[in-house]
Symmetry: C2
Subunit: 221 residues, 2 copies
């Protein structure tokens, strides 16, 4: 029989048999994520700069879609398909990420069905779609704006489900108010602000395209 190790999550009565504590420190986890993200963003920024036609905003959007797409596929994809990550003894980085993040929201360790669903949809649909958005912007596809709009709306819907379910269940899943604000609120805030801005921009671009189409039709008549 395995020795029972106490987990650091709230609610305290959550049962996690076989739990193995985090072996990486918070700063090590953040450093790896920060450095890898910076590498991805720098690479996309440099490569996109080769095309003289690309505006700075398009280049920033390509960086965002590469960053968010890889986060969805690798980090969230690992969670969605690893129900026993909290038992990992090897110090595997992605398991450590979710052991640490669960301090801000224990529903991850507890395998809440709503969380797994949202993370699964995000990893499987929005992840690859985000990488497609990098390609669509790079090559100036006509579906570029509607694709970016669709992914952003999916991200916003997922975040809404994430926060509303927690609210309805009593919002008592963080180990302390530090973890509540740093992880539960802080780590998710970008996925509210940026998709909102992108949605508004795409909505306006799409409306403008129909106005031009309308003017063209009027001229043809």
């Amino acid at each position: 029989m395995e020795a029972s190790v106490e987990h650091p999550y709230v609610p305290r009565d959550l049962k996690l048999p076989g739990f193995v504590p985090c072996s990486l420190s918070q700063s090590a986890i953040l450093l790896v994520y920060g450095v890898s993200s910076l590498l991805v963003v720098s690479l996309v920024w440099l490569l996109s700069g080769r095309s003289p036609k690309k505006s700075k905003i398009d280049r920033w959007l390509m960086c965002w879609w590469a960053f968010t797409g890889l986060t969805h596929m690798i980090v969230e994809g690992y969670f969605a398909f690893s129900p026993e990550f909290y038992k990992d003894k090897t110090g595997f980085y992605l398991a450590e990420v979710w052991k640490e993040y669960s301090k801000g929201d224990s529903r991850y360790a507890a395998r809440d069905a709503g969380i797994v669903t949202v993370e699964g949809l995000t990893a499987v649909l929005e992840g690859p779609a985000s990488l497609l958005a990098v390609f669509a912007i790079a090559t100036g596809k006509s579906y570029s704006y509607i694709l970016q709009f669709a992914i952003s709306l999916g991200q916003l819907y997922g975040t809404a489900v994430y926060f509303v379910t927690s609210y309805l269940e009593g919002d008592h899943f963080a180990a302390s108010s530090y973890y509540y604000y740093a992880y539960y609120i802080g780590a998710n805030a970008s996925w509210i602000v940026i998709p909102t801005l992108i949605s508004i921009r795409c909505w306006n671009k799409i409306c403008a395209a129909f106005q031009i189409q309308g003017q063209k039709k009027a001229k043809v008549r």
Copy 2:
């Protein structure tokens, strides 16, 4: 103390103190919903026919958006904000609807957080947005397609969360396989098929508008 009445839902160990059985029959519930929906659809069809410019497909879409918008706001809106519908003694129609539907998915009576979240978002955001879509099509707004696309995607995301959470929790919420297929599958199927068709149509229309815009820009050069 209230007399304890046994509920007809599965799982059998679900606790619903104060439960009052359905007083309307299944056919009465369906008849009221069917007749009211037919009234709404007929009214929108007739009114939209007054404008000679509207295509048949636009008129059908206006009927759909009026029907789905009112369903979201009235039927699902009632559920989202009535945690104790299963205790209703007055035979109030909307309470009866959800008492009956819970035979296909007891998570409604059990007030599952995922269900309440999806129904709440649907009622509060997609309901009014659907009625706005009727207006947008009627008046030929430039945001007509992107709005229809956004609502359809929201409906599809909500339906995905609805089915995936149930699957992850063991898919054991129907009172019998009749209720499983008639209510859980049957009643939701339209909200997969129709939003999918509308999304594809809007996606194509939006891409076409950007192709025209691209051609126009090329000509200007």
